[in-house]
């Protein structure tokens, strides 16, 4: 009954660990909120709990899944990020969700960049993100990660847009990779005060 087999990923500000029972209340609050409207929500308590169980069970069934994003210093949770491929998903997805009151700090960028690097270092040769065309925050994040819309790729059910992530080679010491790391570095700088629209 341990999460020993789920790797722990550390980044500049974050530590990513397998989802634990005690992390559930923040997940539930987010999936009960309007924030979850592009991910099948808002959900009632039963549906939220069952989705959380599915997030955990995904690790068992696929051997990969979604991590819980924690603050490295305070251990507070900020959201989830990781790999996702339930039945019906044509390809392996990099997915994320950030709690509504934690948006705008670059946590999703920092976490997704790290989980993508982890999967690329462990045999993945690519990934996609399936996004609702109305989910502008997530589309912006996909673009900041270097993903581009793939109009020829198979969608889940026709209502989603497929964003294809850059290949491992395109992220290996490239200008794109440096740009992502520079942006994460800005967010990690306590003096950095982003202007304008809050980004994940």
């Amino acid at each position: 009954m341990s999460h020993a087999a789920i790797p722990v990923i550390e980044t500049q500000r974050l530590v990513l660990r397998g989802p634990e029972p005690e992390d559930y209340p923040n997940f539930k609050a987010t999936f009960a909120s309007y924030r979850s409207r592009f991910m099948g929500g808002p959900l009632n308590p039963y549906e939220a709990w069952m989705l959380y169980a599915a997030e955990i069970g995904h690790w068992d069934i696929r051997g990969f899944g979604m991590w819980m994003i924690h603050d490295k210093d305070t251990d507070d949770t900020y959201g989830m990020a990781g790999g996702w491929q339930p039945a019906g998903w044509p390809e392996r997805e990099i997915a994320w969700i950030i709690w509504p009151d934690k948006a705008g700090k670059g946590y999703a960028l920092e976490a997704t960049h790290a989980v993508r690097a982890h999967y690329y270092a462990n045999g993945w040769d690519g990934a996609v993100s399936y996004l609702d065309p109305m989910n502008l925050d997530s589309i912006r994040l996909a673009e900041r990660l270097g993903a581009t819309k793939d109009k020829t790729a198979q969608t889940i059910d026709g209502s989603d847009a497929v964003y294809r992530h850059p290949s491992p080679a395109a992220l290996d010491g490239t200008q794109l990779a440096h740009g992502i790391e520079m942006e994460i570095g800005h967010y990690a700088d306590p003096m950095f005060k982003p202007k304008g629209w809050a980004l994940d």
Binding site: M1, S2, H3, A5, I6, G18, P21, Y24, K28, N44, P45, Y46, E47, A48, W49, M50, L51, Y52, A53, A54, E55, I56, G57, H58, W59, D60, I61, R62, G63, P86, A87, G88, W89
Partner: protein
């Protein structure tokens, strides 16, 4: 692959009860996509059936108990899923059973539920168990009756609608 939990293996006369895994998916999906799943939220897509399988595994991690896949000893085929269940939104811990298509009429639900009930009382030390059964699900109500359970009260589930709460015999009545 089991990376996050372990479930004890139980055995009955005709069945092995083991942790749910991906090899159960086709039989589970055949059930959930069929009209027989009408009383447990279905029929639903294969994609949602996959999530249902993930939920079975996740339940073990979140609660440290859950449901087992029933393996028919004669054929080694998965024939159902039975065990201890308490997602948020359920009034109490329950004993639940779903038989896969083609596995009904053999008493497997009753046989496996007895083993799960014994595990709850003798190993986990629980003192009571319930089952939520949809009002029109007469087959399931008959399993509850065979187990000695009785109607307790009505309960409206936020997703499944009106249900009957049945209460099982306690450990003292079974010794």
């Amino acid at each position: 692959m089991s990376v996050t939990f372990s479930a004890p293996k139980l055995e009955t006369e005709r069945l092995i009860l083991r942790a749910p895994d991906l090899s159960d998916f086709d039989a589970l999906a055949d059930f959930y996509t069929s009209p027989r799943a009408a009383f447990v939220g279905g029929p639903q897509s294969r994609e949602l059936s996959w999530r249902a399988l993930a939920q079975e595994a996740g339940h073990w991690v979140l609660r440290a108990f859950g449901r087992w896949t029933l393996i028919e000893k004669d054929t080694q085929a998965p024939v159902g899923i039975v065990g201890l269940w308490h997602p948020e939104g359920f009034p109490e811990r329950e004993l639940g059973w779903d038989l896969f298509n083609g596995a009904t009429g053999k008493g497997y639900a009753t046989e496996a539920a007895r083993a799960a009930r014994d595990y709850a009382y003798n190993t986990l030390g629980w003192t009571t168990l319930t089952s939520l059964i949809a009002v029109e699900n007469h087959n399931s109500a008959r399993v509850a009756e065979r187990l000695g359970a009785t109607y307790d009260s009505d309960f409206t589930h936020e997703r499944y609608g009106p249900m009957q709460l049945w209460r099982h015999l306690g450990p003292e009545a079974l010794t």
